[in-house]
Subunit: 457 residues, 2 copies
Amino acid sequence: MTIRHDTGGKPPAHEADPTKSKHASPDGGVGQSEDVPAREPAQPTARIAREARLASRQLAKTTAEDRARGLARIAEAIRDARADIAAENQRDVAAAEERGLGAAMTDRLRLTPARIDEIAGAVDEVAELPDLVGRIEGEHTRPNGLRVARMRIPLGVVAMIYEARPNVTTDAAALGLKSANAVILRGGREAFSSNQALGRAITAGLASAGLPERAVQVMDTTDRAAMLDLLHQEDSIDLVIPRGGEGLIRFVAENARVPVLKHYKGVCHVYVDAEADLEAALAIAENAKVQRPSVCNAMETLLVHRSVAEAFVPRAAARLRERGVEIRGDETWQRLGGEAVTPAQEDDYPEEFLSLVLAARVVDSYDAAVDHIERYGSDHTESIITENAKTAERFLREVGSSTVMVNASTRFADGGQLGLGAEIGISTTRLHAYGPMGAEGLTTTKFVVRGQGQIRE
Amino acid sequence: MTIRHDTGGKPPAHEADPTKSKHASPDGGVGQSEDVPAREPAQPTARIAREARLASRQLAKTTAEDRARGLARIAEAIRDARADIAAENQRDVAAAEERGLGAAMTDRLRLTPARIDEIAGAVDEVAELPDLVGRIEGEHTRPNGLRVARMRIPLGVVAMIYEARPNVTTDAAALGLKSANAVILRGGREAFSSNQALGRAITAGLASAGLPERAVQVMDTTDRAAMLDLLHQEDSIDLVIPRGGEGLIRFVAENARVPVLKHYKGVCHVYVDAEADLEAALAIAENAKVQRPSVCNAMETLLVHRSVAEAFVPRAAARLRERGVEIRGDETWQRLGGEAVTPAQEDDYPEEFLSLVLAARVVDSYDAAVDHIERYGSDHTESIITENAKTAERFLREVGSSTVMVNASTRFADGGQLGLGAEIGISTTRLHAYGPMGAEGLTTTKFVVRGQGQIRE
């Protein structure tokens, strides 16, 4: 019995029936169509997880140099496999076009030779990040002479469940290896063939560096039952990170026995304060909304202090309308924004539009803005536009979201932009990691204690 | 309808029927016996959790000085209430004696005036710890001029579920307030009256400092259904920390929708290496086993390298026997340890004895010792005794437990002993915190970003 590839013209795998057996009979269910790449026999999920655990124990004994060499070899192997990756990617793109996935989605899927080189380059960049594993922190000596410190160590085995973009496969593999974690990657159906090709290159790179090949495993199925199995391997997997639509993330959070780091959505706010530089506010509002509206750190709601509404709203409405934004505003926005503004409903405020739609509201005070954010926000990212340093510091201190900003576009809430080197995910709950998470988020610390025979009185 | 006090002569509350309704009818179930302290009407758990959330928002706006004043007032209030606390504690002690709880357990419960002063002193000590909330970490400037840093912030609302010792009530309240978290405390039935009295003093201290009284709530029930309710308040509670027997902890872990930080048990190892100082090894083994055998950081298994077995085992067996320890050893221990040693069974190795019983084994190599620990250990605490610095460093690096030591007693694996100031719990899973956890474990960080109008290209 093997796990079957889910490649037919069906709805995305994460919307398939979760009760569907992963052990499809040879003639049942999804056909093994000829565009499925050749590969060794698929393995049951529990075995994948156990092999990851074994690989993680081997990785824990590697040096920073071993891992850097592994990353360099993986980048090389990706470049060497350019033709294979491009060909497999072409299958995914063709299937996407056939299914009418939409130009934007299809474009995110596409791997040109230049993009493949970028992907390899990103792996090289991860190799150049500072190595965290084994780092000693907070060393101090106790009155009894014990030397106490913390040593940074990997989490162990990290599983990643994601959709669409194939570069997530190599980014997650690279960050995992950098931090000495074994990773299990379960990508989406849209990028299935691309992910398999990238997985082969990663395995080749690991092998050529003398590292355990099972340190990175790209699952060769998008079957939902296999994903459920994965979420139940709490003895072998330390963390699962889902990335994708809210439906996928809720499914993972509700079904996992393994700890989950996640964010459901990004309802990000820009608040234009009474003492804002309105030119800066206009530029930031436009950038936060239109530069890439489909991502979680795009602005969804624009709040404006009443004392600058007359000066700001008409200009903002005109500028955003020019960029194709549909504004759903309160009465003041409707009055001052003209025909660009339609009436906002209560349920527009907690909404993550992920498109050129914007909720807009005028507030009577700084406190009203913070209250709005507390009530409707998702703890992702909020930015205040103000020239008053005291108000700015108050906002940074009082707003509890995972990223808070002054005079900057919400679009900077990203691991790369904030200096983490790369991003493995974003967390909007406060345990373990909060906000964008890079290699450090894949580590923890243990206590190391050096004594000279001390006993406790 | 109110939550009822569970005070009758029944089995401990955490062993009661979890399906039992918390809304006992006035004449049904447990009687409202006259030794239940007077108190305002009890509240449903969901309301307690919501009030904690509101209090946590108020706490987030307090200063370090506000919180230090709160701690000082709580310590004062505890001293002022010495007579009340002692009297209520006397009820618990009397009930414990009546139920035949055992001298050791009853002693852990007892609050003499001196112990009450110690409890108040511990609150004062927490006030003197460095304040973490609002601390800026890792500030740096990006090439585009954005100033990026992390600010340390409270988790929000932390619930603690624990048994027996009433000092946990004040320690948890103090660490919670120090880190600006609201806390909900659900202690065990044995210390019920003591905890209620301490809770009244804490509330009085908060009120006199002008802090939200609901910042610390001591639940006035030990009903298991109310505990289940608490574990389901994932919208209002950010973390639950269970402390007590493995049964209680498993119940919490299996039923909680709120994230849980925990350790099930401490199967701690001491490994006497081929190059150990045997005098130090003898002293450490004795201390780790007998100084306080009932706690999680006591040694449960003693591993000895074969090359020092002849020299070490007879002396260790004699010395431990003298201190009343029952040794369950492998063949070599039986041969060299004489009649002090009985045969070990396979299931002695993963066992947490919590008493004067010790599993013992001779291993052929350093690697065999590490393999044994990996196989049977609980990721709590392990100590190697060796004079070889290279072997020591290898052990510290390679053993993945949350506390690893060289030439020291496992009994030092404790937040206070390791310099955390105080301890709220110990985690043996790697997410968020690993090992002893103090005030820092009750915090996280958010990203704070200061711009001058930056937008993303």
